[in-house]
Subunit: 124 residues, 2 copies
DNA sequence: CGTGAGTATTTACGCATGTAAACATCGTTT
DNA sequence: AAACGATGTTTACATGCGTAAATACTCACG
């Protein structure tokens, strides 16, 4: 399974928010924050093309880029990887970890409650 | 903050389970599964030494290695990284993600319930 | 048609990684 | 003391990544 790197994921993020986009638009959105030059974004786009994570469609002299890899797929790969490596593939220990580190916000807790409730409901 | 690589983490894992250990013991435990030669483990140990993630104490002709980096620290770094990159730093969306993917086991759910209950109790 | 601006593609380069071979060191055995 | 075996250290090498300079392509314009 073709893995995309962290810098590449930053570019994907832009495309996940809205597509299609030109290289220029991507640079405009991400360049300032990442301190990237034009060439950097172009390179990343090309690597993403080679990895079949994006598709490019010609539009006059430039290209319109769209994501092929879905955000869900990427998130899934990444989180499953972490979970398997560190928490034996199970979710509860992960949450417990954050709980111990006091990294659960009020909001988190409330949302988790709600989530469990919903699971309960659809269960019956 | 000095990051350790995935292969290096495999070696750390052995040391986290039990320490101190010799290079030979580490190889014995991890070599078969990873298909690693002796040199590979030695190299990884040296990189870990340079990164101050393990400590080596001479014992006759060999060394005894112990972890300096704590498993908790490592887990913390890794999970915070993922959480920040993909879930805006919050735990509930992560769990929701797994829930949507039907990746929550019965056991997970039960444990999460218990966890929330405990938070509730200590709250009061 | 030649040129220049706008784009994209190729090449580069240093550093980390995965993997290991080559080399060095140091007690032990003739 | 010389050679050997065990162990650690150095060096190597391909690949990927982050970053970008160099180069190539493509229209619109003079």
């Amino acid at each position: 399974m073709m893995m995309i790197s962290e810098a590449e994921a930053v570019v994907m993020d832009v495309l996940w928010r809205e597509a299609p986009r030109t290289a220029e638009e991507i640079l405009a959105e991400v360049g300032p924050a990442q301190n990237w030059q034009e060439g950097t974004v172009k390179s990343l786009l090309n690597r993403l093309l080679r990895k079949k994570a994006v598709h490019a469609e010609r539009d006059g002299r430039r290209y319109l880029y769209r994501p092929l890899l879905k955000r869900e797929q990427y998130v899934q790969q990444e989180s499953k990887g972490l979970l398997d490596r560190l928490f034996d593939g199970r979710v509860a220990p992960l949450v417990a970890h954050f709980s111990e580190q006091r990294k659960l916000s009020k909001k988190d807790i409330a949302e988790l409650r709600k989530l469990l409730k919903e699971l309960d409901d659809e269960q019956s």
